[in-house]
Symmetry: C2
Subunit: 238 residues, 2 copies
Amino acid sequence: MKSAAKAVETTADDTAETGSQQIRDAIRDAIVERRLSPGTKLSESDVGNLFNVSRTLARSALQALAYEGLVSVEKNRGAFVAYPSPDEARQIFAARRLIEPGILREAAARITPSQIQHLRQLLIEEGRLMGERGQTARRAEIKASGDFHLTLASISGNTIMQRFMDELVARSSLVIALYGQSTVSSCGHSEHGDIVDAIERKDLDKACQLMLHHIAHIEADLDLREQKSVGLKEAFDL
Amino acid sequence: MKSAAKAVETTADDTAETGSQQIRDAIRDAIVERRLSPGTKLSESDVGNLFNVSRTLARSALQALAYEGLVSVEKNRGAFVAYPSPDEARQIFAARRLIEPGILREAAARITPSQIQHLRQLLIEEGRLMGERGQTARRAEIKASGDFHLTLASISGNTIMQRFMDELVARSSLVIALYGQSTVSSCGHSEHGDIVDAIERKDLDKACQLMLHHIAHIEADLDLREQKSVGLKEAFDL
DNA sequence: GCGCAAAAAATCGTATACAATTTAGCCGCA
DNA sequence: TGCGGCTAAATTGTATACGATTTTTTGCGC
């Protein structure tokens, strides 16, 4: 046991819920890396069979993912990879604009040189993936892009905000999968670098400004027009 | 069906998980209103019997609450009402300081006169409860005090931030139960009123400043010293 | 061939049953 | 009396089973 005596242990040291936890993480990774498309049905039986566990655990994992907003469960119908509406997408990015500057300030205040080094390492890896070709590289790039924001959150030292960011970054990935236009899935890679530069110079105002622009750029690449089921005549009448 | 055609319905219209949802809400209310003390054991069987459902549903509810940070489940040991550490408490309030000004700005930008009216109504109710005596009144007051912040979040129109605030307000209640000093459980009631006033005047900077002060006041009432299990010699040597 | 109703299949919601782990009690022994 | 280890009770982790709801398919009349 690491921490010494304490009245009540608030954080479970052992990995709670080893069963559903693993499934949950596996499915979440698949969603974030866009191997699972929005709207895909995730039947409890199928998930259970896939991971060789009972439906109980599969269900538990799916419900947890539903709470994170990554899957939507409809009563008596099943679970589906979330299909965020344009309005939901706007709310996700509004939340990021609201939260990330604050996280950035906290992170910048307590960042260590070795952590800056770590961030730069991430950027190099990200850049390398951008150069490569192929789906696996693309998926790794998507994850790396999100990891930048997540790492910033972890540096801030606030585990709660970290969890909020986890959710927002994951859901952003869904939104980009649905509404993203430019082929380059990730956002401007150089913008990440600029932010790190500003952090290193301790120019917080500039860093925040860059972050807001960065988020705005990602959002600007989306086509959030209501695609009202195209339906009926317009599709053929033209 | 209310909304017309859409490719995939993202928000389930029917109440999903009627079973565990009800239990979850009931327990959460009990925690937020401090009828359940931090550290209290919540056995799956007991919870199930209490609500006349199977252990399956009880477990599901407890896991959901664990995700919200209101209960902590320890592997093979059970679920307990969360007992936030002083550090956790600081993180909760740091998160609120980070988030609430942004929510306030969003809310102020889109607030309608009738919503202002609604806020004032809440304040009146809150004041009335402050005057009353007795535990039930005290509990209602606790809830009303949180409702002010939650209502602000709902006015902001961002359901994601609303959920984040739900969690933060609930966990704040736990922290206050543990570390609060002044008998008056709720924070300065008048401060809520001042914030509404500033919103009505569209003085956003002032409103944000008041909000930050307000949160600081709540936190200032806490005694967050590490009570390192008092243990060992100090307890007896003196 | 088309539309509609009823039955069949599939899937979810909940309960119960069994296995694994932890906790508490008990007895023997120094 | 105090301590160590063993057994039994309690509690959680996981799987299976059954009932309810939804979806699909089948079959019939037109």
